[in-house]
Symmetry: C2
Subunit: 199 residues, 2 copies
Amino acid sequence: MPDVKHFDPEVTLDQVVALFWQRGAEVTGIADVVAATGLSRSSLYATFGGKAQLQAAALGRYLERQSRPVFEALAADGRGLPAIAAFFERLVAARCSGVHARWGCLVTNTHATANGGLSEIREVLERHHDALRAAMRAALEAARTKGQLRAGLDVGAAAEALTLQAYAVNLRSRAGAEAGVLLAGVRAVLDGFATTGER
Amino acid sequence: MPDVKHFDPEVTLDQVVALFWQRGAEVTGIADVVAATGLSRSSLYATFGGKAQLQAAALGRYLERQSRPVFEALAADGRGLPAIAAFFERLVAARCSGVHARWGCLVTNTHATANGGLSEIREVLERHHDALRAAMRAALEAARTKGQLRAGLDVGAAAEALTLQAYAVNLRSRAGAEAGVLLAGVRAVLDGFATTGER
DNA sequence: CCTATCTTGGAACGACTATTCCAAGATAGG
DNA sequence: CCTATCTTGGAATAGTCGTTCCAAGATAGG
């Protein structure tokens, strides 16, 4: 009997992700969301329920659509250290050039801003961190079986270090850091994990 | 002839730094500044000139008072790798416990938020980055003369890597990361730079 | 003490914020 | 076609934003 939605919530969420990602969720108003999505305040509030929940939904969608596929590709890539190097090369390229150049990473940006926000937002941050670190660890363990890793390397600590390095790449790229400088930093860390002479 | 200021602008700036640092500059209103400093809007605008300029002034003061002394101590510390390790141990401790626990770093936080802000803010970000990387480089060169570094290590790239690692520590600490996890990540990077068996 | 000059408190400003509300429109089962 | 039920557009809400303004207060040279 009832009426049905005149729009696709997932498409709307993608537009909101782009908005929050580029300009920041805190400084983006509902009026901006209305203008970008083309739908009305009523539909927005009826579907998502408010700005904080909209932000959490957008953050969750970013994790699933932008981050997760890349993390899974890294975890499934059996090449070892070259897989990690390729991950960072594509990361730096995406952060410094192309459509999303200088946007940083929505999750990384949220780290600095989400102070008293919803607990759901904090949970997405943690999910993101765990997923990336797990993917890094999987790639490092593949590297270990191939004999690419230095003897005595703590794989868990190394995975954390690389995850931290990725956050910093996201952060500095938004402030205008050069791709070459970021890549050199990443490579120095990776070289330190490799067996002498490897890579 | 004229009247003189009834307050100390530097003390006020310190209070503003604390406010912006803990809660974020974007979400902190002038009303909050008025409440925290105890002075009126007139004095605030007459002295600093507006919120954007107040933010730039607070950011600059943070760099000079909080960051610079630590960077200079690192650059002057001749111990090499132990000096860098000590830097990170004090950093993690300051970020995860004590008065400023979970505040992160004002400069790091600003990286994620300052998008279309004053160009002066961007310049402070760059000054901060250059100062930290130079200090890291000085400490690494001290390590080199002491034979602590792996053969073939690019000192410039390593300094950039450690600087990025520091940013990530600041970022993740604000989101609640455990001190032990952060330290383990840092140590993995440092161990990768050292001669085998060192540290 | 007087007065020129600055500072201060606090009211007022328009523009924005997120959110709510309701009448009008759209839908689909009966 | 009818009607119950949802959605939609858009006006209206109360509150906060950064900023401005001016009368009243404070200062120190003359």
